[in-house]
Subunit: 217 residues, 2 copies
DNA sequence: ATTTGTTTCAAACATTTGTTTGAAATGGTG
DNA sequence: CACCATTTCAAACAAATGTTTGAAACAAAT
């Protein structure tokens, strides 16, 4: 029994290893560009394992999305309510910073963010589920925050537009990283830079929101 | 001679047809997903034509980028200087609106914008040239405008960050269109909507710039 | 009309990639 | 040990795709 436990701990079941490897590869390369052979090699598994355990590349991808979602939920059990009383600006900054971290952190934490970012640009059949289960809730959360910032007279359209203005600034750095690093060599994405970025996006957006608010009447 | 001229006018040389077809297909599908067979079918050409005229798929793609650049230059011979005296806000709105149009117009006008947008997310070997020849100049142009708006005390870093805040808002709608149309059904991208979008992005950004300006000291 | 250089074409080729297969290995159970 | 289900594996398969090839068609010049 000790031996069994030890073995389980050391050599994780193939299915799990595939899931981990696939998460990383899909997050890096995207669904299309990732190959099952890459994934299996990384998981020390046979090429046929993907089909045996997940019924195919698509099935594996679907499982990876669920897996990443579970991992993220585990790590942030309930981000929806900020416990302390914070200024709205600070609350927005926290949202933005968390968003950036999900896109740029290394390791398992960032899988979900990267996968979702990929889905936006190069959608697969899984996009509908991703939007409904993951993007939609976050969108509602940000909209609530923005509505508070824009005031009760703001229209749904205004809230939507401002939401996209905020989100776009965060996603941009991930989507366009290849261009940014060529256009501005030396631009880095370490933790410190991420905080500075979040500060800028928040300040810029607070000004933008104020401007949008004025133009309401 | 008349017969020849007529024929040339009616049945354009294969090379040109390939270029046109490839521009459309690459803009729609991206470099990887586009297949030479698709392109050749659309151009009524043989599969081997691509290799004969351009040395391969990569060569064709490189030519397509140059071709799209020429087309865009032809259409907007010199956008760099706005002839009339405009308020900076109006100037920014024109820039933003033109940007959006390049991404969402149908037909040849939009090829370059779409191709560049693709390059940002899914870079190819051609990205370096694209950045240097196309993105860099536009970037400089926007930076000049923003520096005027931010005032002489603004740092290069501030200008860069604000530039990305503006550009990101424009690109977002193109990059994330699949998500937007699921999240906000009915969101359209017709000419009227594009003008409204440009107005929002401009107003939002003007507020953001003001905010960024304040935080300079 | 013949020649010469260019262009087109159908067919084949080589490679990649997702999937299938049938046998071998594995591990628990009676 | 023998039996059974589960899992792994090397090999093969089928489809897609970029590229090559060698002959045919074509056009212009001599």
């Amino acid at each position: 029994m000790v031996r069994i436990k030890a073995k389980v701990a050391l050599v994780e079941p193939t299915r799990q290893q595939l899931l981990e490897a696939a998460s990383a590869v899909f997050a890096e390369r995207g669904f299309r560009a990732a190959t099952v052979r890459q994934i299996c090699q990384r998981a020390n598994a046979n090429v046929a394992a993907v089909n045996y355990h997940f019924g195919g590349k698509a099935g594996l991808y679907a499982e990876v999305l669920r897996h990443a979602h579970r991992c993220a939920e585990e790590r942030h059990p309930n981000v929806s309510v900020s416990p302390k009383r914070l200024t709205p600006a600070r609350e927005l900054e926290i949202f933005v910073h968390a968003f950036l971290q999900r896109l740029f952190d290394e390791g398992r934490t960032a899988w979900l963010g990267k996968l979702m970012s990929r889905e936006m640009v190069e959608p697969t059949a899984a996009l509908d589920a991703v939007v409904e289960e993951q993007i939609q809730p976050n969108s509602r959360r940000l909209q609530d925050l923005l509505r508070r910032l824009l005031g009760p007279r703001s229209s749904a359209e205004q809230v939507r537009l401002c939401e996209m203005s905020v989100v776009s600034q965060c996603l941009f750095y991930h989507h366009c990283r290849p261009v940014i690093s060529r256009l501005f060599p030396g631009f880095d994405f370490g933790p410190k830079a991420l905080r500075r970025l979040a500060a800028h996006i928040t300040r810029f957006s607070m000004g933008g929101l104020q401007s949008a608010k004025k133009g309401l009447g």
